[in-house]
Amino acid sequence: MSDAPERILIKGNEAVAFGAVDAGCRCYFGYPITPQNEIPEAMSRLLPEIGGCYVQAESEVGAASMLLGACASGVPSMTSSSGCGISLMQEALSYMTGSMLPAVLVNMARGGPGLGDIGPSQGDYFQAVKGGGHGDHRNIVLAPATAQECYDFMFRAFALAFTYANPVMVLGDAVVGQIKEPVRRTPPPDALAPERLAELAAPWRVEGRGRRGPGAAPRLVKSVYLAEGTLAARNRQLRDKYEAMRAEARWIAQDTDDADLVVVAYGSIARAVRSAIRALRAQGAAVGLFRPITLYPFPDEGLRALAAARPGRRFLVVEQNLGQMVEDVRLALFGPAGRGAEVLFHGLMPGLLADAQTLEEPVRLALAGKEIRS
């Protein structure tokens, strides 16, 4: 028998639920939507067993608002949804950023726009990374590719949310959520203990002022700043925080040392790309993979370092959408030779499973500087 902890065979969605609960999450609010229903289903069983609370809300508007209330109370709490459900949560998301609350939201993305379909898609990249809420809103975005990462990234999501007092979104898709894989249920090294999360919330949470002793001053959690100059001061504070978050950018680079072409992909698509790259390298092609783990903050330093290390090296962005992350890659690699680089794009349509074999062709063409459309 090995000493390695036992692995359990679960879906990515279930791994999200286990990861959240093991990370200290005690409140879940949600509304059913495919392809993430295993998350609320698991939470409705797991949380009552440990004295937590599960509420099926009347809508995603209600769920995200309940989340705001629970987060303001300093209790690790989350919601999850997909597509149009995330759109309904954007109001509360912006308020939670303005009120500096540590919310965790999971988006198991489906196809869009509109009702779209229930298959995999990366069409929510802009919404998650750029358009999460109105005003000068930013939220951290983590992109798991496997069920194990679904589990691990929930710890990271709560740790980051409480460290920065800011919402964090975990962005998967129908494949990441539905795929069943072995998962080790042990906290990753970057986990913060629930007691530490409570400590981080202690200075600001609302709880009833008497809990802080007789005569304690009342506390207020809010996002409104009407008096002249006060919103400016608040947004300077937010700006400093957003800048500090840049230190959290994470990525994985594989086979990039000798690569003439680096393929940039995240989430489930990065897995298919990885297999295509293995097959192509076996045929002698010098290709590598750059996988952003954080989509916000975007790991542009990592990309720039790759471009600078080998001038003339090309980049190919593969996404399951019409071209969204490619804008961030172009922004990161914009500049004169030696600092910038040529960026190509290959977009996959939503609703279809990406398979490694069909990805070999666009990667091979990109080596020669050519793009094809799917």
Partner: protein, 264 residues
């Protein structure tokens, strides 16, 4: 009870042989409000603060403020508070109460906030029997945005967005929230009161007390509707506003207890 917000100035403190017979409640911040002259929000705040003290709930209280003229209600309550989005106060309060089951949680919402944009959140929190107390200010208009039509606007009432007077067909009739709430299984207390006279103000305080008591005793959702004056957007004096409540509002919104599980 300790109130960190109302330290009595030295000159006003009782001397030898004197005793303090009247003071602001510990749950209240004793300061001038931003409300218009003759507005009833101030009276409603005072009643809520007195009830919190009397029920020994001030130390555990959490106020969920709404969006409307009372958006800054937290400036006048010496309790922990948070802001909800327009209409979502009952959902936000659900999150607070579930995360912190020992707290005493209340919302304070206008009629646009609760009965229009937030109707779904309000009705569903009530139907789930959330242990929160919702205070509903019915002044038949959107006060903060300048007197537009609300779900509670009376038929024929002229507003900035019903220049010909509200018509039933196309604009709907005045929504009776107390009756709606009383019909839900999760609601333990529902009453409509008015703030136009001393007698009615006294009855309102009793109703507020009951609506908090059902929460504290775990019986269910507490709801009080307060018919309130908005002299500014009604374009009348405070006295005329009081008369309007008595003569025009109460006939459409009858006062009284619609549900009470306290004695069951």
């Amino acid at each position: 009870m300790n109130n960190p917000c109302n330290a009595l100035p030295e000159a006003l403190r009782p001397r030898e042989g004197e005793s303090l017979v009247f003071d602001a409640p510990a749950a209240q911040v004793d300061r001038p409000t931003h409300y218009c002259p003759g507005c009833h929000h101030g009276i409603a705040h005072r009643l809520v603060a007195e009830v919190l003290d009397e029920l020994d709930a001030t130390d555990r209280a959490v106020l969920v403020a709404s969006v409307g003229c009372s958006a800054f209600s937290y400036d006048y309550f010496a309790v922990d508070a948070l802001e909800a989005q327009h209409g979502r106060a009952c959902a936000v309060a659900t999150g607070v109460r579930r995360a912190n089951p020992d707290s005493v949680v209340f919302t304070y919402q206008g009629d646009g906030d609760m009965a229009a944009i937030g109707l779904a959140e309000s009705v569903h929190a009530a139907n789930r029997g959330e242990l929160i107390t919702a205070i509903f200010i019915n002044n038949t208009v959107y006060g903060m945005t300048g007197g537009q039509t609300a779900p509670t606007t009376l038929i024929g009432q002229i507003t900035t967005t019903s220049p010909a007077g509200r018509r039933l067909r196309g604009e709907g009739g005045p929504l009776r929230m107390t009756e709606l709430m009383a019909g839900l299984d999760g609601v333990a207390y529902a009453e409509r009161c008015a703030l136009d006279s001393v007698r009615h103000v006294r009855a309102a305080k009793k109703a507020l007390r009951n609506a908090f008591e059902v929460q504290i005793r775990g019986l269910g959702f507490g709801f009080v509707e307060l018919l309130s004056g908005c002299p500014t957007n009604w374009h009348m004096t405070p006295q005329a506003a009081n008369r309007r409540i008595a003569e025009e509002m109460i006939p459409v919104f009858p006062l009284g207890t619609a549900k009470n599980l306290l004695d069951k």
